[in-house]
Symmetry: C2
Subunit: 331 residues, 2 copies
């Protein structure tokens, strides 16, 4: 039996295209001591992995043609050389875009049997944990405050808005279509939404934030970050999570006007973070998020495609804003 993989065929110059990838067959991986063989059930496609194709400036490591495309997956253990894992266990790991992978057991997380494995690509996975720590630890959101989030229909954003609502905050989502906006307000309970593609976007943002913004959860950088800076209240916090507006290019634009002047005048804190810095608190956060899912206070939106071959197009589409919720590829 062969393994199937999506390989990086060439590094993108400018915008990513599906032809930067190719589907390949390879030998089934063999596991060494302390390793497990995982059959991928599904993996998530997230904008942050685009940064891994830009070279050393990213936390995702150096890019390389011929490498299996990286990504977080969930799967089933089909062979184990590690005593803590048994065949049949559901797990999450950096599977990459492939059908099977051999993983060091210490880099694999066992999924609580009472949890839905697919939730480990969403609310109980990196996306949900990122939303949780970015909002609470970095953003220090408090009841009664106004929380603004960009890429609000994205895998992280749609959870930030819901968590902020649960925390008693006023929530304002920024997204790129009326249809996404309706999902956010009607299904997820966002207080209001603003479409950054509208000609009168800045005026709409002003109207949607009559009391200013206390916490801005930034998934985009660029123009939307610039617009948020002018709405921040004194002592506001900007939680810098990602830069989706700048990933899909080789020529990032300058930073927003008003930095650092507005930071000084309004005593604003901007803090960049990576979710891995909060690893010791993951299980606490997962328990909390699980209770919200159980009670129905929080919903996991997913946007699924089927089969490895569909992944490259699904990624290109994601980078142009095509998804609502977490984009998942099921194998």
């Amino acid at each position: 039996m062969q393994n199937q993989q999506i390989l990086i065929d060439s590094l993108p110059t400018g915008k990513l295209v599906a032809d930067n990838y190719r589907l390949a067959e390879s030998a089934m991986p063999e596991i060494g001591p302390g390793q497990v063989l995982i059959k991928t059930i599904a993996f998530a496609i997230t904008a942050g992995t685009r940064a891994g194709l830009q070279g050393s400036a990213s936390y995702a490591g150096a890019p390389e043609a011929g490498r299996v495309m990286n990504g977080t997956g969930v799967g089933e253990v089909v062979a184990s050389n590690a005593p803590e894992f048994s065949v049949g266990d559901h797990v999450t790991a950096a599977t990459g875009w492939q059908a099977y992978s051999a993983q060091d057991a210490k880099l694999v997380t066992k999924i609580d049997p009472s949890h839905d494995p697919i939730h480990y690509l969403g609310p109980l996975g990196i996306n949900g944990l990122t939303a949780y720590f970015g909002l609470n630890e970095v953003g220090q959101a408090k009841a009664g405050e106004t929380v603004m989030v960009s890429a609000a229909a994205g895998s992280v954003g749609h959870m930030v808005g819901q968590m902020a609502r649960i925390a008693g905050c006023h929530t304002v989502g920024v997204c790129g279509s009326e249809e996404k906006g309706r999902v956010l307000t009607e299904q997820l309970g966002f207080g209001s939404v603003v479409n950054y593609k509208d000609a009168n976007y800045r005026q709409s943002l002003k109207e949607a934030t009559p009391n200013g913004v206390d916490v801005y959860f930034d998934n985009t950088g660029g123009m939307i970050l610039g617009s948020a800076l002018f709405r921040m209240n004194v002592a506001g916090r900007i939680s810098c999570c990602g830069v989706v507006s700048q990933y899909d290019t080789n020529t990032p634009e300058p930073g927003p006007r008003g930095i650092p002047g507005l930071l000084v005048n309004n005593r604003i804190t901007m803090r960049g973070f990576l979710v891995f810095d909060f690893a010791e608190q993951y299980s606490m956060a997962r328990e909390q998020i699980h209770t919200w899912l159980q009670s129905g206070e929080m919903i996991s939106l997913t946007d699924e495609v089927n089969g490895l071959a569909a992944a490259p197009d699904a990624f290109v589409d994601l980078l142009s804003g095509g998804n609502v919720g977490t984009r998942i590829v099921r194998l």
Copy 2:
């Protein structure tokens, strides 16, 4: 007897010029209940007050032609309608650029008779307190770390570097001339200095910060902030104090490239602050700074001119980097 004042004659369009001011005579101010009459001994000219001429975007309030130019001064009480002040007391207050001013007693600070009043325009005044809280509270500088400071020969910067040295940090100052650099290393104990006007500035900065930068105390914004971003260590802190590179213009440049991308990758915190946020801790900080001045560990550099009429030119010169230390106008 008449009062003498420097008035804002017109708001600058583009760079400030001395003709934006005029010297005027006016009636001696009369004091009401709870007020004191202060004869100005000296006042400080600081870059931050340039922001007060740019309109509502500044913390210094709205500008207005005909207004007395604002600034912090020290003086002597010459008449008092407030029981807590006696004729002859040395005080510090927002005197503005004028020979006499009537002040509400509650906005006046009495100077400890054991302190040199002129130090209240420098290390024991707003400049020194700004350096102290920006370095320790905002920047969280710790022994062994590398602290970089811009406008390092300026009224705040020259104290930041000394306080960082006293705290056991490696200190790197950025300034605009070899002469200033020599003062910083030879008189004030900076570990190294870099001249931002040098063609190979970025390479020199890299060599001066072999272990990267943990705390960057930003007085300038603009290009120097941009260069610091690329030297910041993981979990570094940027203390945003001022934007001198952007004050003297009506068209502030865009923010540095790398915001917010580098903040995310390296988990950097940028925090803007105003010293007034720390008012409750002023007396504690003054005691600490006073001991450093007494022991000689810290030196107050001043750069003095004489007479009200000299103030406008002294301000224009300051904005183009002409000063070393705190620029003071003595009356």
